[in-house]
Amino acid sequence: MSCSITRWWVAVAWIDRILKEGSRRVEEVEVFYGEGTAISADLKRRNVNLAIRSDECGLGIRTIDKGRIGSSTTHDPKRWRECLDAAIASGRLATPQQWGGLPRQSEFSTETLCYDPTIPVDPKTASGLLGKMLEGAAEHPAEVTSGTATVSSTTDTVANSNGVRYTSRHTGVSVSLEAIKEHSTGSEFAQSCYNDIDPYSVGERAAFFASQSAGGTDIQTGKYDILLSPIAYAELLGAAFIPALSGRNVHAGRSHLASQLGESIMDSQSSMYDDTYRQKGLGSTFWDAEGMPARRVEFVRGGTLSSFAYDLRTAYRYGKESTASALRSGAHGGTGIGHHNFIVDGPRTEVADDRVIYVHSVVGAHTANPMSGDFSVEISNSFWMEDGEFQAPIRSAMLAGNVFAMHKETGGISEEVRQIGSLVLPSIRLISQRIIGT
């Protein structure tokens, strides 16, 4: 019961006391315990300004009694009785729902999916990553404004009163850098659960976008073909499309896609799926946050909407099957519906051969309308592109469109994919999109 990393069986033995006490008072109990350490170092311009060590631990308890679900969390494992009381009290207020029980223990491979013991979680490693990014940034005439490098190691345990006892270890390395030339900014980042990122390249790309975007020219309002980089695509998908795949939003009346199951929603050769066991995937796992055995979820197959994502709670309520899509937002967060490694796939084409406007990222994606999918955002680090080569930068413009409709207006996806958090995305070419120039 401390914030240091304990051996997994010690954690489980301690958690057994909560499960035993809770089971005397309610039908079922679920416990989540996470602990870990992260070390970060931040650049201010080209010098390291600060280094942080963060020791985190969090306990979450969920109780189920006669279909009433209660929950509570705490940073202090020694206050587990208070946390258990709060979870049970919370359940008494909840509206009862159909409930078919927490999962039972399954057997899994002992292989680790997101753990690399060669990652040293120490300040020197973080400092070294920053140094490599600075070397890369020196490739182009831009000034570094800020940067961050983080290394981390965490252990998560999920257990329940039906016998589930799962513990997984995770490691992480992430870097990011921002650069500027005159009033032109550029940024890049990389993250992995393995010791395989290329900080030099991150620095080089950030400085490249800052320096190459300088001196941009205006563009006339009109319709243009757009090439969204994986970053820009991820920003728009995450703001409005992916929430519409959540079973809870679908059944609650908050999803544009709710009535389109079995209908064509994108190119007939394209697909979207959750690949839970993806090699080196940042969200790869054998089980979800409720202890359900993880599995591949086909959201879109052959262009047709095939499935939504469900956790146990939503699945039981609406007579569906859990897709093992429960996620927990950190050691001190609650559970919700999400995905593990969200993939967009389809036939690969040379998306940048014909003249197109390349959009590296957008400003204001989170202001998209999550119900209708409409957005109008400022584009960043945008260039005319032809034969795959960056040409003249575009100074400023807005892109207005609809995140659902645009998937029926595609001109192909790129061979290269990029991992952005739990999304693995290609660049996507969109036909005849509306640009508002200056």
């Binding site: 170092a41 201010k44 311009r45 010098n47 390291v48 300004n49 600060l50 280094a51 060590r53 020791d55 985190e56 209660g70 929950s71 509570s72 969390t73 705490t74 940073h75 202090d76 946390c83 709060a86 009290a89 919370s90 207020l93 909840a94 509206t95 729902q97 300040p123 973080a126 400092s127 000034e143 404004t145 800020s146 921002e178 500027i180 009033h183 900014t185 309002t221 609650a252 009346g253 908050r254 544009h256 009535s259 609650g334 400003v363 204001g364 989170h366 202001t367 119900m371 209708s372 957005f375 109008s376 400022e378 960043s380 400023s396 807005m398 207005a400 609809n402 509306r434 508002i436 200056t438």
Partner: protein, 446 residues
């Protein structure tokens, strides 16, 4: 006893408390419960930069154990190379406003019942989803530093959001209302928020798309507040100025807007972004960022004030026990002397934008974007057709010159602002504002 060698300064901020959340979705109580948090941050200033420890489940320690923590933080600081200096600052705490009714004295059953009334009020024909959340966070914060300062305070922020989603023939639109406060429990007799959210959602089903392009725009007080926050506030943050990542760097004394425009940030104002002292124990007070159209001062922490100058410290804020960042608190455009009617008349033809779905800025590039919840076309000074999904973007250094008139009806609106992975409570405000030659984004065409 003394701290380990090589430490120029340290401070400790311990944040503990409880949060209560109630979530009602289409009449079903999804959750209604309390969670507990307890976290501390210890900052040590070494020979060069900072070494910082963040500790979950923190308990005040003996001097010997505390010295060991200082030593650990000092070792982290050893990898830093930037020479950080701290500006002298007045350190004192002001009083937290007394609450009209302490939310902690009200049972969660009553909170749930009152929230359910607001959620039910959103039930109109064509509304397919109603969702209401109550959020209450009670924080006890203690601050101490190596200079012998020691302050503490307790603050309870509470409020609610209500969302209504309307649907017809495959078209979906939403209405959203919220109220958050430091002044006490505010859930009683608030059904009109639910009704308004529903009315907006249903009305938007018939709204058209705005045609994008340059035009005259009237911003309502909520959206004009977001405009001040995004277009000016972030770019005035001392850390961005220090990094060379703000278009306002080296612009002190420059005229960037018309002489009617004054933009202020004031953490001492008893609004949702209020702080009794900042995250470095520094006294909070008003800063005029823009005074009569001229860049006047930046927002600062002790570190950025020492590095950049021009302004005052007292603007360092943190989400819980996260590292302090230079942040806005209560940001607003000062009242002008025009009435709303005069502004509408002066606009003649353009668009009125109302409510906020948030915004974002790239302060180094000087480009901002924000989105209205809805709007109305203005024709011959009168509101006509309702429009949806309309946003506005612009260039910080030129857009402010386009402010033609400021109204005399300033109102503040609560919200949250994200920066560096931290979300902190803020309020933004303004009177109605008339903006000329603004770039409006929308997918409508002729």
């Amino acid at each position: 006893m003394s701290e380990p060698p090589g430490i120029r300064y340290y401070d400790l901020r311990h944040v503990r408390g409880e949060s209560t959340l109630v979530d009602i979705d289409n009449g079903s109580v999804e959750s209604a419960g309390t969670s507990f948090f307890n976290r501390a941050i210890l900052r040590v200033l070494g020979p060069h930069g900072w070494g910082i420890l963040q500790i979950d489940n923190f308990k005040p320690a003996s001097w010997e154990k505390f010295n060991a923590l200082l030593d650990s933080a000092a070792k982290l600081a050893a990898i830093t190379g930037q020479d950080v200096n701290l500006h002298e600052a007045s350190q004192r705490a002001c009083k937290v406003p007394v609450m009209s009714e302490d939310p902690r004295g009200i049972s969660i059953e009553e909170k749930t019942s009152l929230l359910a009334e607001i959620e039910r009020a959103a039930a109109l024909p064509e509304v397919v989803n109603r969702r209401a959340n109550y959020i209450e966070r009670s924080e006890h914060v203690t601050f101490s530093d190596s200079s012998g300062h020691e302050f503490s305070y307790e603050i309870c922020r509470s409020g609610f959001n209500v969302l209504a989603v309307a649907s017809r023939n495959g078209t979906m639109q939403m209405g959203y209302e919220r109220e958050h406060s430091i002044h006490g429990f505010d859930l009683r007799h608030r059904q009109e928020y639910g009704r308004n959210a529903a009315k907006v959602a249903v009305s938007l089903l018939d709204a058209g798309h705005a045609k994008g392009g340059r035009m005259r725009v009237v911003l309502d007080p909520e959206l004009a507040g977001v405009f001040a926050h995004e277009a000016v506030g972030h770019a005035s943050e001392g850390d961005l100025v220090q990094e060379g990542n703000s278009v306002l760097a080296k612009m002190t004394g420059a005229s960037i807007g018309n002489n009617r425009l004054t933009i202020v940030d004031d953490p001492a104002l008893p609004e949702f972004g209020f702080e009794p002292f900042d995250a470095e124990g520094v006294a909070v007070q008003r800063t005029e960022i823009i005074r009569k159209g001229v860049v006047n001062a930046f927002l600062h922490s002790r570190e950025t004030l020492a590095a950049v100058g021009n302004g005052i410290a007292g603007h360092a804020r943190a989400m819980g026990a996260e590292p302090p960042l230079v942040r806005m608190s209560n940001t607003y455009i000062e009242n002008g002397d025009s009435t709303r009617e005069e502004i509408m008349e002066a606009c003649k033809n353009g668009i009125l934008l109302k409510g906020s779905r948030g915004g974002q800025v790239d302060p180094g590039r000087g480009v901002f974007q924000f989105n209205a919840e809805y709007g109305y076309l203005i024709e011959r000074g009168e509101c006509t057709t309702m429009v949806r999904d309309v946003s506005l973007s612009g260039d910080i250094l030129s857009t402010l010159h386009g402010i033609l008139l400021c109204g005399n009806d300033r109102a503040m609106h609560p919200g949250y602002c994200g920066k560096g992975g931290q979300s902190v409570p803020v309020s933004d405000g303004a009177p109605h504002v008339l903006l000329d030659n603004a770039v409006v984004g929308g997918s409508g065409v002729d």
